[in-house]
């Protein structure tokens, strides 16, 4: 069993597990942090961005004025943003049988994997993961295609040139493998390969392996996966949460008794407490609104936004800000809000019971009904005529490189009355803000990451007790910025097996058994004999049938009676029964009892001679010898087949057959 690690990003994993005869990809996350090296894509022409100076090396040898622009001391690539894909050279992706998706954030690279690689397998995901994943991909494509950029910068990627660029561009790795965004057509084609599954549904793969998604408590439809055969169990834990937010709580007990537990998707901000951050979010928001400023919340279109809206729903009235409008702007805003209401089965108990009334599970339905929350596909159209200030705007993309958020940065960045509140943990906020500097607007960083922290995960592991843990190398040492915090890493006995991008790990597994079915007729015909107290054995002679990785033992077919006319021909073909190997023998032969039985079968003239190891029996009338020892019997007799057979059968009577 092997694990191929195609992504180095701990929360956007992409691993391939080879288990029995199957090749299973676990998630295919897309690392979009590479977009931070690029200039933002404005929706309306921005004179500030277009006036940024081009970059040339100080000595003038390298001039990339067209491709690279300088802003506040940093250099950015002026081109459509590109993303860092999972590694595609480590293994032939066309050999991947299935892809298991754990949550909608971890499937964004799907079109890169399933299209143009020869992939012909199936993708398994829950319905919410599939639907919301589709929305997020659709949104990403719309963001890109809405503002087409003719230029595609490639010169800077040249190794010789990249070396001379200023940091952090200089240190970007694998830049040649970065790819532009996929098209809607590719998204549709990729999603057509998805098969929907429900929690605790047992999915058989080629009869060899069974995979089961379990609730992971992180987002709508998010799952951990169990990959198991009758004897081995691998748990794949990705993006899990023990906090009470909107999704169904995490199923922990099903992870017990794993041989290997692959652990990914822990919190990215282990030092921030989500509840505290939520409080800070609300108070900063209220402060800004009271002062007459606007609040910008860059966010994904699904996930924490539901919790933020619910929190604000309660908070705004109590803070006396009930009239402040919320705007949610995204090409998929409406769909995201609508979809969130129809997945009752996937929600926490509290929300589920609302549906029985029947009421929508999320209070944002009421916010929309009372016109407190309005949603628009983009800043163009209705929004521009309807929007009032001060207001709160939720919009994407959290990288601040594309999407409607770019416009609000340009619009509100110059005033110190306004505030931008970062809630998504995926991007460093300082890097995200870099191309907008100098900036007057206030910046608040309240990352809300509900995924497991190190404390929770070590408790969980103590509970479920896997034999081995595999995790990204980042989890085996404290974060670089807090190198003294040994509590911010995994400390386990035995230590976890760490991986990085392009690692290939051999998992410590020894498969020893396989499940086989004895047909009832065969089972009935078995003759068990007790060898030791409580232990019986039976000799099984049967025909093995293996089909679709399922094994069955059938009784040996009776030889068909040979028609006399074809006797000669038939005799050459040996009947299968006669080919059956003879059993091994065990036990020893008691002399007296053996002599008695010899006597009974008419062999009376026996001379017994004692030897060092046992006895030699001379059958004088028959001119034969039987040598009896503790662990061996030797029958010597010449050309007398009936005698030999008779003696053999006598001996066998005293021995156990295996």
């Amino acid at each position: 069993m092997k694990l191929y690690c195609l992504s180095g990003h701990p929360t956007l994993p992409c691993n391939v597990l080879k288990f029995k005869s199957t090749t299973i990809m676990l998630d295919c996350g897309l690392d979009t942090t590479s977009a931070l090296y690029f200039l933002p894509l404005p929706l309306v022409h921005s004179s500030r961005l277009s006036k940024l100076p081009g970059w040339a090396s100080k000595d003038g040898t390298v001039n990339l004025e067209k491709e690279l622009k300088e802003c506040a001391g940093r250099v950015f690539v002026d081109s459509q943003p590109e993303f860092c894909l999972p590694e595609r050279e480590l293994l032939d992706l066309s050999t991947v049988d299935v892809i298991l998706i754990s949550n909608y954030h971890c499937m964004m690279a799907l079109p890169y994997i399933t299209e143009h690689t020869g992939f012909s397998g199936t993708v398994y995901a829950t319905e919410p993961t599939f639907q919301i994943g589709r929305l997020l991909m659709e949104e990403l494509v719309t963001f890109m295609e809405r503002v087409p950029k003719a230029q595609s910068a490639t010169c800077w990627k040249n190794k010789e040139i990249q070396r001379m660029l200023p940091g952090p561009l200089k240190d970007a790795v694998d830049v040649w493998s970065w790819k532009r965004c996929y098209s809607m057509q590719e998204v549709n084609s990729a999603l057509s390969k998805v098969q929907l599954v429900g929690y605790s549904q047992k999915v058989e793969l080629f009869g060899a392996v069974q995979v089961t998604p379990l609730s992971s408590g992180y987002s709508l439809g998010s799952s951990n996966w169990i990959i198991q055969s009758h004897y081995e169990k691998v748990s794949y834990v990705s993006g899990s949460s023990l906090l009470t937010t909107h999704p169904q709580p995490m199923d922990q007990s099903s992870l017990k008794n794993s041989d290997v537990l692959i652990l990914t998707g822990l919190t990215q901000i282990p030092t921030a407490n989500p509840d505290g951050m939520l409080g800070e979010f609300c108070s900063n928001l209220a402060m800004t609104i009271r002062a007459g400023g606007n609040v910008l919340v860059p966010c994904y279109s699904s996930g924490v936004i539901y919790d933020l809206l619910e929190c604000l729903y309660q908070f705004m009235d109590s803070a006396n800000l009930g009239t402040t409008p919320f705007y949610f702007i995204s090409p998929v805003a409406n769909s995201s809000l609508e979809f969130s209401q129809i997945f009752a089965e996937w929600l926490c108990q509290n929300k589920q019971s609302k549906v029985y009334l029947p009421e929508p599970p999320f209070p944002h339905a009421e916010l929309i009904q009372t016109n407190k929350l309005k949603h628009y596909p983009s800043i163009h159209g209705e929004f521009s005529s309807e929007f009032r200030q001060p207001c709160v705007v939720f919009t994407g993309h959290p990288s601040l490189r594309f999407g409607d958020v770019v416009h609000f940065m340009e619009l509100w960045g110059k005033s110190s009355l306004n505030t931008i509140i970062f809630t998504e943990p995926d991007f460093s906020y300082l890097d995200a803000l870099a191309p907008y500097q100098p900036l007057a607007m206030k910046c608040v960083y309240c990352p809300i990451d509900t995924r497991l922290n190190f404390h929770q995960v070590s408790k969980l592991l103590k509970e479920v007790q896997p034999l081995h843990v595999v995790c990204p190398e980042q989890y085996t040492q404290p974060p670089p910025a807090q190198s003294h915090r040994s509590d911010l890493m995994l400390e386990l006995q035995p230590p976890p097996m760490a991986y990085r991008r392009c690692s290939v790990l051999g998992l410590p597994f020894r498969r020893r058994y396989e499940r086989i079915q004895l047909q009832p007729e065969l089972a009935k015909a078995l003759v068990p004999s007790e060898i030791k107290p409580g232990i019986s054995v039976a000799t099984v002679s049967a025909v093995l049938q293996s089909k679709d990785n399922k094994h069955v033992l059938q009784p040996v077919p009776k030889p068909t009676p040979v028609p006399p006319s074809k006797k000669r021909k038939r005799l050459m073909e040996e009947v299968p029964e006669l080919l059956s190997p003879k059993p091994l023998l065990s036990g020893s032969i008691p002399l007296d009892a053996f002599l008695a039985s010899l006597h009974k079968s008419g062999i009376t003239e026996v001379k017994v001679e004692e030897t060092a190891d046992g006895h030699i029996l001379h059958l004088q009338a028959e001119d034969a010898l039987i040598q009896l020892e503790e662990d061996a019997t030797h029958i010597v007799c010449d050309n007398n087949e009936p005698l030999r057979t008779a003696l053999r059968d006598l001996v066998l009577r005293f021995l156990q057959k295996l």
Partner: protein, 618 residues
């Protein structure tokens, strides 16, 4: 021999009060717990005293599963759990869990508040009963206990309807509840995988019907409604609040819009809006088309259909009214029917099945005079139309499901005996499987023949598979040999060698030696070399070795040559082999030697049986 027992307490050769007991692998499961619409007395509920005469059912049942929210499938649930007594788990899907208590409360109100019956379950009992419900998701495998697992499949029929697979070890039963194999305007078609259950328990409401295309029926329906409206008549459509009602509403809504009709459409009180809300929240349970477009346009927001008020029934002019319940046995639909029955311009359209004893059943049978309470008779002049919109599988659909699931046995419930008989014959003919149709209280026993799961050592399996080659020859099956070790409850199949080792036993060697005399003038070692080179050339494909200790080995048969002291030309050849060596090989091998040395005496054709006398010749 293990067997599965099935006993219907209701729905055995009948429609109504579905309640089927299944006993499989030592587990007892109750499937559905319904009431009978045709009775108002004790026969209304299944006879639970069959399970036990005294006391609660908890000890006798491992779980109860409800297939969908129709009262003939869940109407007796609070009676069973709260009045008879059952505290174990009750499984149903989320929509069923949401809607079932509303219909139960409705049923209770009609029975207790309107008819004044006592000794009936209370609102509190419905609530207490619902607390015992565990929701089921589609395709989720729910482990009821260590051995019993259940899995729900989509059944169409109504919102949240499910079929269930019940599995204990390798034995399994599928219960379909009510299902529909063709998608309609709001629900999808039932689906199940090839799960090969020991028994498939199927409804058979439309056992003898093969329905024409849905489209024709819809056109017919619209035509009839339209004609009645045109001539100023009123149309009454008795429905159950959830299910057919929504489908027909969608149908009329689009027709009204297309034809620009003005006549009002009403839907009888209360439940409607709530019902439509359930459809909106459980949109994932509707059909593909509705699910796909729900963000843009929710099909369950009707523009032309308004809430009905009792006073509207006397309004002049044409109108269409959907009223509950669907079999005209009580409530608003019956009240309106009484008002409109006397006018031949009016029409009542029965879109679903009516059980015996209900007004609906009577008028469908052409009865023109109805006896009402208080000796009054009601003359039926209005037109009565029957339209099968109820979403049950027809004969074709039932056969289709059998093809999907490939059961070993079939058992029919929820249908009329005569029709079942017909379908039973057809199933037995077409699929060559046994088909049963027990009456209520009658037990069907099916003997199963489960195979025995065993852990085989991977070494043994791999060795065997490698020897068998990639494509085993069915004409020449290979016999595999192993030792089954039974210890506690574990069964392990290992190679005999491994078994000896694991059990700490030593092997007992059994060997045979045989002397053969030959005339050969060469020296001992020469004879041996000649034998070696001869065997080597003749026995292609065998391992023939000449060992330095003066022996020749053919596979594991050892051969030595010595000469007797008296006659140097008389050689004694010692052949030695172990018990495990195939004796045929030994004979064949000895024969070859004889032929080579042209032994004195006659060598007959080399067959196994004749090899023995040849040997004794020397």
């Amino acid at each position: 021999m293990p067997d599965i027992k099935v006993t219907p307490l209701g729905a055995g050769q009948d429609v109504g009060r579905s309640c089927i007991l299944v006993s499989v692998g030592g587990k007892n499961i109750m499937l559905d717990c319904g009431m009978h619409m045709g009775y108002n007395d004790d026969r209304r509920f299944p006879d639970f005293s069959y399970i036990t005469q005294n006391g609660r059912l908890t000890d006798f049942l491992d779980c109860v599963i409800i297939s969908h929210f129709h009262l003939d499938h869940c109407g007796a649930l609070p009676y069973m759990s709260e009045m008879v007594g059952y505290d174990g788990p009750i499984y149903m899907t989320h929509p069923t869990k949401a809607i079932c208590p509303i219909l139960l409360e409705d049923f209770r109100k009609i029975t207790v508040d309107k008819k004044g019956e006592t000794n009936f379950f209370t609102s509190q009992m419905i609530k207490d009963c619902m607390k015992k419900v565990v929701p089921l998701n589609l395709h989720q495998t729910v482990q009821v206990d260590d051995e019993l697992e259940i899995k729900a499949y989509y059944a169409g029929h109504v919102l949240g309807a499910a079929m269930v697979l019940i599995k204990v070890g390798s034995e399994s039963v599928v219960y379909t509840g009510d299902y529909n194999m063709t998608p309609d305007r709001h629900l999808g078609a039932a689906w199940i995988d090839k799960c090969r259950p020991d028994i498939l328990i199927s409804e058979s409401t439309y056992a003898t019907t093969i329905r024409d295309s849905k489209r024709c029926r819809e056109r017919d329906f619209l035509k009839k409604v339209h004609e009645t409206i045109e001539r100023g008549g009123k149309v009454l459509i008795p429905v159950f609040a959830l299910g057919r009602a929504q489908e027909l509403c969608i149908l009329l809504e689009t027709f009204w819009y297309r034809m620009n009709l003005k006549a009002p459409i009403y839907f009888s009180t209360g439940l409607t809006e709530k019902a439509n809300h359930y459809y909106k929240l459980f949109i994932t349970w509707t059909n593909q088309k509705i699910r796909k477009t729900f963000v843009q346009r929710n099909m369950f927001e009707f523009k032309h259909i308004k809430a009905f008020d009792r006073s509207y029934a006397d309004n002049p002019g044409p109108m269409v009214v959907f009223a509950t319940p669907g079999m005209l046995h009580a409530g608003q639909s019956l009240q309106i029917f009484k008002k409109w029955a006397g006018n031949e311009k009016n029409m009542v359209i029965m879109p679903g099945y009516c059980v015996q004893g209900t007004v609906g059943h009577k008028i469908l049978n052409g009865q023109k005079k109805l006896e009402m309470e208080g000796r009054a008779t009601l003359e039926v002049k209005l037109q009565v139309e029957y339209m099968s919109f109820s979403a049950h599988a027809d004969a074709k659909g039932i056969m289709q499901l059998i093809r999907m699931a490939e059961p070993r046995n079939m058992l029919l419930v929820h249908g009329e005996a005569k029709k079942m008989e017909f379908l039973k014959d057809k199933i037995e003919q077409e699929f060559s499987i046994s088909c049963y149709m027990p009456a209520n209280g009658e037990t069907t026993t099916v003997t199963t023949n489960p195979s025995v799961p065993v852990d085989i050592s991977l070494n043994l399996l791999k060795r065997e598979m490698a020897l068998g080659g990639p494509l085993p020859d069915p004409k020449k099956p290979r016999t595999m040999h192993g030792t089954l070790i039974m210890k506690d409850s574990s069964l392990r199949l290992v190679s005999p060698e491994q078994a000896l080792k694991e059990l700490g036993l030593s092997e007992h060697q059994l060997r045979f030696t045989c002397r053969v005399h030959l005339q050969d003038p060469h020296s001992d070692s020469d004879t041996l070399s000649r034998i070696y080179s001869h065997l080597k050339s003749v026995l292609k494909g065998y391992a023939v070795q000449h060992l330095p200790d003066g022996t020749v080995m053919v596979e594991s048969i050892v051969l030595k040559v010595s000469s007797s002291g008296e006659d140097p030309n008389l050689k004694v050849i010692l052949l030695s082999w172990s018990y495990q060596v195939n004796e045929n090989k030994v004979f064949l091998f000895i024969l070859l030697l004889f032929i080579y040395f042209e032994v004195k005496g006659q060598v007959k054709s080399p067959t196994r049986h004749e090899a023995i006398p040849t040997l004794t010749l020397i």
